[in-house]
């Protein structure tokens, strides 16, 4: 399927990027610095005092020439960036362009502090050390398999959970997209996500893991800007009873082998409980449990696994079943208004 789609050209009315959110922060009274920024370079005086931006978010976008739906906003998970949704580590098409080819205007962010959004080394929000997941940690925490000692393909293959869908031969390639993260910036992230919704909403959010938690929190603050939420293994639900989301359809997707993991049974049970409450408050929640649909072996990183196009089709079927209202066609002018 992916190969066939790739043979068709991708026709875009516009593509580019912009930034949303963030606020100006003033630094005063810090000592002057001087740095040589290139080998044998001319020393550059750096005055750390002055104005910097805190909490901004990078957004790339692509608008299909023939659009057939509202905007889809792709919100990646923890330790990751928008690269999650682009080409897969084994060179196949990711969901970002897959949905563009089907006519969806797509917006792919780097969350606050990640990727092109940047971060603020001197700000108290970033006072704690940044965390960078190891290969071994990622392999288990992303639920690809049991603990491994090393990253050789043989070791990974031996430890992988049954019917593993992750292309293990490029797990090292995947690790190149794992970036440092902090655990102190949720508030900044939700603020920036709300700024994005204000700019391009009403929209559908497609969110993964930590991004799923942000999606529910942002939707609680901007329900009028959210047409639907596709939560791919969300890290948690919202922080309210969900009443603000009444009428906003939610699709939650889970991969395989949660029972073999130390954390996921707890995460899933807690999120299911929040979904139960939200359902009672009028939120149409649908759970797409892939193993229950006969699709075995997917991990937490299912958007880049071998059957990612098959899962994308299930998502698109769900999207087409909702009554998603397109208030205005997305154009270059509406994006940059």
């Amino acid at each position: 399927m992916t190969i066939r789609m790739n043979r068709q050209p991708l026709v875009l009315s516009d593509t580019g990027s912009f930034f949303v959110g963030g606020r100006m922060v003033e630094t005063v009274g810090a000592p002057l610095e001087e740095h040589v920024l290139a080998r044998n370079g001319v020393p550059v005086p750096i005055n750390p005092n002055g104005t910097t931006v805190l909490g901004q978010m990078y957004v790339q976008y692509a608008l299909p020439e023939t659009a057939s739906g509202p905007p889809l906003l792709f919100w990646h998970g923890g330790s990751l960036t928008g690269a999650s949704w682009e080409t897969t580590p084994d060179g196949r098409e990711g969901w970002y362009t897959w949905f563009q080819r089907r006519g969806w205007p797509c917006f792919n962010v780097d969350a606050v502090e990640r990727g092109r959004s940047g971060w603020a080394p001197r700000d108290p929000y970033f006072a704690a050390p940044a965390l960078l997941r190891t290969l071994q940690d990622s392999f288990t925490q992303f639920r690809i398999g049991r603990a491994v000692q090393d990253g050789s393909v043989a070791s990974l293959a031996a430890a992988a959970y049954p019917e593993c869908r992750f292309p293990l031969d490029v797990f090292g390639t995947f690790m190149r997209q794992v970036v440092p993260r902090w655990s102190s910036t949720d508030e900044l992230a939700v603020d920036a996500y709300c700024a994005l919704l204000d700019r391009v909403g009403p929209a559908v959010i497609v969110a993964h893991s930590q991004g799923g938690a942000f999606a529910f929190r942002a939707a609680e603050r901007r329900p009028e800007m959210v047409l639907g939420i596709v939560a791919v293994e969300p890290a948690q639900g919202g922080v309210t009873d969900g009443a603000a989301l009444a009428g906003i359809p939610v699709l939650a997707i889970y991969g395989d082998h949660l029972d073999l993991d130390a954390r996921w049974p707890t995460i899933r049970a807690r999120t299911d409980k929040w979904f139960d409450g939200a359902s009672r408050a009028g939120v149409p929640v649908e759970i797409l449990d892939l193993p229950q649909r006969g699709i075995r072996g997917n991990s937490h990183m299912l958007m880049m696994e071998r059957n990612n196009a098959e899962i994308a089709e299930l998502i698109e079927e769900w999207l087409r079943r909702q009554s998603l209202e397109v208030s205005q066609p997305m154009t270059k002018d509406t994006v940059h208004a």
Copy 2:
């Protein structure tokens, strides 16, 4: 011009991203950690011991359906990411898509340590504190105008150099794309740039500032993979006499008001001296001094200034005048081979 081009759809045979370079690094003997990574989240055990990647580089790419030239590799400057080449801060088309629309296969990186390339908090390469430029520092160091106390549009307008081409009303928007940087990672960056050339070369490098310095160093190591270099205000020349670059055409572009800046007369004089030596060694160097061509008021950030399309046309004219050999058409298969 930009507006007319934007009305035409952009037709791509493929677009996506990949990572190049980097090496696996092992951490041993560090104490175990436990972190709560979400509000009220389940504590996550983090073992810092294990394998991480150091020195990888993110590359986004877009292949026009009708390609008419070799690949262009966009290498951004210091404190910046590939966002430099995308949509301008005032919402106009950047060079990344401008050249795609003219048929050039385009590759836009985040240098090692920047943006989606990530960095390695525990690695000695990142032991020194990261630097984040202030608005005030950026305004002068990027040669937009004299020292300012605050970032109000009135202050910036009063301090701007004559005939300023930067859209000052969105200077705060531009500051959202300024990211932290280190001054200890040049070696990692050049290694990753060579890995990119090995993967998609022979290619033309379009490089800005620090990226220009990396371009000459990478070309010295991979001359057979470089068809030409467009150096936009390069921070410096190469580290050899340039003999390895014999026959590789170089276009160096400079904006206005170098004489009003504390550092740029030195940087320009030193780079010109390197160009003189390289010319004697057989490198065809052409200097495009914009003020000498009657184009006044451009700063160091000329790829996003009001006349960025006019400058792009001058670059394309120069490219079309070179005998750039296309060894093979770029397709999804060659990118992901």
